[in-house]
C-alpha cells in the first residue's frame, strides 16, 4: 500500500472542504463580516495547505488498489472531521475541543446531533458551515474526490465500492463514471429543488438553503433551536418530507426513474418495503398519539407522525414536535425506524431496509427449510439472487450493529444516564439519526452529556457511517502491510 498516494487523494478531499470553508467565510463577509469570518478564513487556509502539500510531491496514480481506496475513504472521513472542527474551535462560544469534535463528526457523518444549546446564537457563516458539513458528508467525502480525480476507471471503482454499501453496489447497473454523474445530478438536483420550494413556501433564502442541504444529506442540522417546528408550516413540512424521502432512496433508482429506465423506484422491492414501513408506522403512531390526547385533531397527529417517521427513518433528524411527550408505543416505533434506517445507496444511515428485508427473507427461508429439509431455497432481493456470502455478511453486520448498540447503552448507563437516554443515544449515534429520546430528545441536545460519552457518541457515528467493518479494519495495523 502506497502511503503517498493515500495522502494525495485525501489531500484532494481536503481541497474540497477548504473550498466550502471559503464559501462559508464569504457568507460571513456578506453578513457584515460577522465573528465567524476569521475562524472560517483561517480554517480554509489551514485545510488548503494540508490538501495542497501532498500534491507538490506525489504524482497522480494510474491505478489504486482496494486497500488504498479503502484507506482514502476512511482517512478522508476522519481527517475531514478533524479539519471540520477548526472553525468551531477558533470561534469558541460553546465549542471546546470535545464539543467541536462532536459537532464536526456529527456533521460529516450526517448525524445531525448537536451540543449547542442555542443554535441561533451562531453567526451565519458558521451556521452555513454546519450545514455544509452535512452536505459534504451526505454526498460522501469520497464522491467529491471522485469528481475531481482525473484518473480513470480503476481509481473510481476502488473508491466507490468502499463508499457504497455492498448491497447498493449490486443495484448499480452503470459504469463507475456514471455513478458519479448520477450522484451529482440527483444530489444537486434535490438540493436545488428543495431550496427553491422552501423559499416559495416562505422561508428565508439562507434558511431554505441550509435546510435543503441538511435534508438532502439526511443530516438534520437546522438554523433554528426548534428545528422545523419553528416555522409551524404544513407546506414546508411536506416539502421536507418529500426531500427526505427522495434522499433516502437509492440514488441510482431515482436517476433511473427520471431517466425512464425499467429498474425504477416503482418496481423496486426495497423501495416498496421502505414506503410500506413508513406508511404503517405513520398510521399507527398517528392513531396512538391522537388516542393518547397529545393532539386535538387526528390530522395534526397524522402530520406530526408522518414528519417524525420520515425524519427518523431517513436518519435526517429534523423535528416538529417534542417526541418525548408522545405515548410509549409511538416512542418504541420511532426507535424501531431509527434502527432500520432507509435504503442503501442513499445518504441515509442505519441498518438499511435492504438488510432488514434480507434478514426477514432469510428468516422465512429458514422456517420453510425446517418444514421442507430437502428443498432448495433461493433468496432474491429486487430480483437479484443473494449468495450465501452476502447473506452471511448481512447477518454478521446486523448482529454487530445490535451488539454495538448494547455496548453503547452499557457505557452510557455506566456514566449515570437513564435507560431510555442511554439506549436512544446509542441508536441515534450509530444510525446517524440525530435526535433520540429522554435527555437527547428531539427538542434537547447532547450538551449535558459527559465528555467521554460525547467521544463515544462520535466514535459510534463514524462506525455507523463507515458501515462498522470499514472503521474496524482501518484500526488494524496488521491489515496495512
Amino acid at each position: 500500500m502506497r502511503f503517498s498516494i493515500i495522502l494525495r487523494y485525501v489531500g484532494t478531499v481536503m481541497l474540497c472542504i477548504s473550498a466550502f470553508m471559503a464559501v462559508s467565510a464569504f457568507i460571513s463577509y456578506l453578513d457584515g463580516m460577522d465573528s465567524a469570518f476569521y475562524p472560517l478564513l483561517l480554517s480554509a487556509l489551514l485545510t488548503l495547505l494540508l490538501g495542497v502539500f501532498p500534491m507538490l510531491f506525489v504524482r497522480k496514480a494510474d491505478a489504486i488498489n482496494n486497500k488504498e481506496g479503502f484507506s482514502i475513504v476512511v482517512g478522508s472521513w476522519i481527517l475531514a472531521s478533524v479539519v471540520g472542527m477548526f472553525p468551531y474551535l477558533i470561534w469558541g462560544g460553546e465549542f471546546n475541543l470535545i464539543n467541536a469534535w462532536f459537532e464536526s463528526v456529527s456533521g460529516f457523518t450526517t448525524t445531525g446531533a448537536t451540543i449547542l444549546n442555542d443554535v441561533e446564537a451562531l453567526p451565519q457563516g458558521l451556521l452555513f458551515w454546519r450545514s455544509a458539513t452535512n452536505w459534504i458528508g451526505g454526498a460522501g467525502v469520497v464522491m467529491f474526490a471522485l469528481l475531481i480525480l482525473p484518473s480513470l476507471g480503476t481509481n473510481k471503482m476502488a473508491l466507490s465500492s468502499m463508499e457504497l454499501s455492498s448491497l447498493a453496489r449490486d443495484n448499480y447497473r452503470y459504469r463507475a463514471q456514471m455513478i458519479v454523474r448520477i450522484l451529482l445530478v440527483v444530489y444537486v438536483g434535490i438540493t436545488v429543488a428543495t431550496t427553491l420550494l422552501l423559499k416559495l413556501a416562505g422561508m428565508r433564502w439562507f434558511d431554505a438553503l441550509n435546510h435543503a442541504m441538511s435534508a438532502c444529506a439526511t443530516g438534520g442540522f437546522s438554523t433554528k433551536n426548534a428545528s422545523i417546528g419553528f416555522y409551524d408550516s404544513a407546506l414546508m413540512e411536506i416539502i421536507l418530507i418529500v426531500a427526505m424521502l427522495l434522499s433516502s432512496i437509492h440514488f441510482g433508482l431515482i436517476y433511473a426513474t427520471f431517466a425512464r429506465k425499467s429498474n425504477n423506484i416503482f418496481r423496486s422491492e426495497v423501495v416498496k418495503t421502505y414506503l410500506a414501513v413508513v406508511a404503517v408506522c405513520t398510521v399507527i403512531i398517528a392513531v396512538n398519539i391522537y388516542d393518547a390526547g397529545v393532539y386535538d385533531s387526528f390530522w395534526t397527529s397524522l402530520r406530526s407522525s408522518l414528519f417524525q417517521v420520515v425524519s427518523l427513518i431517513s436518519t435526517t433528524g429534523f423535528a416538529t414536535a417534542d417526541t418525548n411527550l408522545w405515548a410509549p408505543l409511538s416512542i418504541i416505533l420511532l426507535m424501531f425506524v431509527s434502527v432500520t434506517g432507509a435504503c442503501a445507496g442513499s445518504t441515509s444511515g442505519g441498518l438499511k431496509i435492504d438488510r432488514m428485508l434480507l434478514f426477514v427473507k432469510t428468516l422465512a427461508s429458514r422456517i420453510r427449510h425446517q418444514q421442507h429439509p430437502n428443498a432448495i431455497l433461493r433468496i432474491r432481493v429486487d430480483g437479484i439472487l443473494q449468495e450465501n456470502e452476502q447473506i452471511h455478511s448481512a447477518m454478521v453486520f446486523i448482529i454487530t450493529y445490535v451488539v454495538l448498540i448494547f455496548l453503547g447503552t452499557f457505557v452510557n448507563a455506566l456514566f449515570g444516564l437513564d435507560l431510555i437516554t442511554s439506549f436512544s443515544s446509542s441508536v441515534t449515534c450509530i444510525g446517524n439519526v440525530g435526535p433520540g429520546f429522554g435527555e437527547v430528545g428531539s427538542m434537547d441536545n447532547f450538551s449535558s452529556m459527559p465528555a467521554i460519552l460525547k467521544l463515544q457518541g462520535s466514535l459510534l457515528m463514524l462506525m455507523g457511517r463507515l458501515e462498522i467493518f470499514g472503521f474496524i479494519q482501518f484500526l488494524f495495523i496488521k491489515w496495512w502491510r
Partner: protein
C-alpha cells in the same frame, strides 16, 4: 511542479505563510482583546470617578441645606446651588458616556426632586421646564407645615422632607455604581472569549504546521533522499562488481534527470568498453 528547488521552496513558503497568517490573526485578536480590556478598565474607572463626584456633590448639597434650613445661614446658598449644578453635571456626563440608562433615569428623577424641594424651600430658583413639573409635585414646604418658627420648621423640613430624598439619592448613586459593574460582567466574559480566540489560531496553526513538517520530511525522504541513496548504492554496485544499474524514480525532477544521466553514462561506458 517539477523541480526539487521549487518543491522545497513552496514547502517552506507554505510554512512561512501559515506562520504569518496565524500570527496576523492572533495579532488582530490580541488587538481586539487589548482594546476591550482598555475599554472595560476605563469604563470602570470613569464609573468610579462619576459615582465619587456624585456622592461628594450630594453630600455638599445636603450639608448646605442643613445649614440653611436648621441654622438659617444664608451664605450656604451658593454652596447649595454649586453642588446641585455639579451633581447635574455629573449626571449629564454619565448620560453622555452611555452608562446604564435605566439607572440614570431614576437618578435623574431623584435629583430633580431634590432640586425642586430645595428651590421651593429657598423660595425661588430658576423656573426651567425641567424642574417645573417636579417643583409642582413637591408639596412639602414650611408653609405647608404651618409652623411659624423658621428654625423649628426648617429642622422638620430637613429631617422629614429633605433627608429621606437625600438618602434615596445616595442609595441610587451606589446602585448606579453597582449596576454599571454588573453590566461590565458580560463584557469581561467576552474578554475571556477573545483571549481564547487569540490563542486558538496559533495552536491550530502549530498543529497543522507539525503535520506539514512531518509530511515534508516524509516526502523529502521518499522522493529525494531515498532515490539518491539508491542511486549511490546501485552505482557503487556497478563500479565495484558490474552489477546492473536499476533505479526507478517517481517524480519528473532533477533526481530523475540525474538518474537518467547516470544510466546514459553507464551505457556510454559500456559501449566504450566494448569498442
Amino acid at each position: 511542479m517539477n523541480g526539487i528547488g521549487k518543491r522545497v521552496t513552496i514547502g517552506f513558503m507554505s510554512i512561512v505563510a501559515l506562520l504569518f497568517v496565524s500570527g496576523m490573526i492572533s495579532l488582530f485578536e490580541l488587538g481586539d482583546l487589548s482594546n476591550d480590556t482598555e475599554n472595560i478598565l476605563s469604563t470602570s474607572k470613569r464609573n468610579m470617578e462619576l459615582a465619587k463626584d456624585m456622592l461628594k456633590s450630594s453630600h455638599e448639597h445636603s450639608r448646605a441645606m442643613l445649614h440653611l434650613a436648621v441654622f438659617g445661614e444664608k451664605e450656604y446658598t451658593d454652596l447649595a446651588n454649586r453642588s446641585m449644578s455639579e451633581l447635574e453635571g455629573c449626571l449629564a456626563a454619565a448620560r453622555s458616556e452611555s452608562f446604564n440608562e435605566t439607572c440614570l433615569d431614576s437618578l435623574s428623577a431623584t435629583v430633580s426632586k431634590i432640586r425642586a424641594m430645595s428651590e421651593k424651600f429657598l423660595g425661588g430658583g430658576t423656573d426651567t421646564e425641567t424642574h417645573k413639573e417636579s417643583r409642582d409635585s413637591v408639596t412639602f414646604s414650611t408653609a405647608d407645615l404651618g409652623i411659624a418658627d423658621a428654625s423649628v420648621s426648617g429642622k422638620i423640613w430637613y429631617d422629614a422632607g429633605y433627608e429621606p430624598v437625600y438618602t434615596e439619592l445616595t442609595e441610587q448613586i451606589k446602585q448606579f455604581m453597582t449596576l454599571t459593574y454588573s453590566s461590565l460582567a458580560p463584557r469581561a466574559a467576552q474578554l475571556n472569549k477573545n483571549a481564547y480566540r487569540s490563542v486558538a489560531p496559533v495552536l491550530l496553526s502549530l498543529l497543522v504546521m507539525i503535520a506539514i513538517v512531518l509530511m515534508f520530511f516524509y516526502f523529502i525522504m521518499v522522493y529525494c533522499v531515498k532515490p539518491v541513496i539508491k542511486m549511490n548504492k546501485s552505482l557503487g554496485g556497478y563500479l565495484s562488481y558490474r552489477l546492473p544499474y536499476e533505479v526507478k524514480t517517481e517524480l519528473l525532477d532533477e533526481i530523475k534527470e540525474l538518474n537518467d544521466n547516470i544510466e546514459s553514462l553507464i551505457n556510454i561506458s559500456k559501449q566504450n568498453n566494448k569498442q
